[in-house]
Subunit: 313 residues, 2 copies
Amino acid sequence: MSLPKRVNLVEVGPREGCQFEGIGDPTRITTASKVQLIDALAATGVGAIQMVSFVSPRQVPQMADAEAVCAAITPRAGIVYSGIYLNDAGLKRAMQAGVIEISGKLSFTASDAFSMRNQRRTHAEDVVMQGKIAALYRAANIAITHGNIMAAFGCNFEGEIPLSRVLDYIAELQSIAGGGLKSVSLADTMGWADPEMIRRAVGEVRTRWPDMRVALHLHDTRALAIANVYAALLEGVSDFDTAVGGLGGCPFAGIQGAAGNVCTEEVVFLCRQLGIETSIDLHAMVECARMAQDIVGHPLPSKLINANLDLPT
Amino acid sequence: MSLPKRVNLVEVGPREGCQFEGIGDPTRITTASKVQLIDALAATGVGAIQMVSFVSPRQVPQMADAEAVCAAITPRAGIVYSGIYLNDAGLKRAMQAGVIEISGKLSFTASDAFSMRNQRRTHAEDVVMQGKIAALYRAANIAITHGNIMAAFGCNFEGEIPLSRVLDYIAELQSIAGGGLKSVSLADTMGWADPEMIRRAVGEVRTRWPDMRVALHLHDTRALAIANVYAALLEGVSDFDTAVGGLGGCPFAGIQGAAGNVCTEEVVFLCRQLGIETSIDLHAMVECARMAQDIVGHPLPSKLINANLDLPT
């Protein structure tokens, strides 16, 4: 493989970041701040923004304003606005939120221990749930084309995840989807991946499903996220979730020192250095990262916002 | 090339970090703290520690205690203790400091603008200076085997540095050394390198001097340092300077947000993940990073010290 000519980023900072930053203080990041950040991100040239989670307001009160955020943003043509959901109730909310584009995605978690903590379901229970979600898509005439595997590389509770399990779960999702999956996202939810794991996983998925697009969702918990992006680029991967400023984080570490998603502006910078198109204005994204830093009120992990840098225009 | 089986790290945190942290407040990092950190690092299994700079105490007062540090550490067998010097006066001090192992290294800076700021010499003046330094080595029967190019990838004052100039300067150093250079270190002093620049530079040096070892000194100013290490490993590079905790920084940014050298424990972690031996105990190095953070009194860039991580033993 050679480096891709163009990379598509999904900006997940508003969802991941505001969800994480609001732990223990759900109204600390106001709805108005979320809307301000989303609207600013929409002006950077990014093609997709994951804005909110449609999850239980009791368990995740900091996302209780999901519908309010959707109603308050100023939608910009050409941008895919999305939200996540972990069950059928969440999908129904997403379908009614108006601005949210539903992508027909099914999801498994490769670690049962993490699944129990995050979704309160075993894998067997998740098979049933993904069937329910699939039925809702079909009833709404939404093609089921995307698969997602969370904790695909490792888990703080189970350790390294065998690649064979990830492949088995993709096959199960493909079966629930009736064979329609065209892309699969591998999420390194707790930052366990390394560059060679990334290359091996991408290679094995492609060996088994030669036409499958592989997307990556990477966390920088163990400091290897940008190296993992480079490794993925070497394999021709062109779809990544990234978070402005490096927003987000691991709930198992204090907010101050937690490492979130791989940082959008750092991935944009890497791509520009490698001659890969992203559609994103680097300087505008750096400004959004500064805005995000002001909103959360503490330094974000991004290197590019904290130094007086000479960046390419 | 394939990944190296073993990587040799030079721990440069005491020199780079204490030099940077002491800007504007030269006694903030006490001699005792420097000694404590160096002695702790020596117990991690690292093979080499760059401790101090033998530079003008007037211009760099935070390194005025270089000799005192050398006298106060508890030297450990098998460890190469080193210091840097930018001129013949500094080399003479290093030679008399006792514990310092002199390696017969000549150095150029690929950016004249940076050279004027850092060494107060033009390249032409540096040719004369490196000749003086070479004469001192010869008088002391020290083989001249190492070359060093600072600002080898880019400069905040000049922009990108052409690789042809780096190759020319290596050839000049080789000439001053009488053809004895066996290794050359490329220093990305201001964090301008990207993974493909690294691979191209390493490849070109090897094409021209097939037996030359290439070492790298990388800064994380623009967030790509760990990706650059991975790219270098893919080219079989096995010699890196790294700094515990990610100590060090760019004098053109505030201390708090400045990004220093590529972080030792993060490189050790990457190597372990890739099955590459480093001789360093990861947990001991993480403890040293925590010590360094306590000494400097503010959060260091290292991701591995700030999260509750499950690291390999």
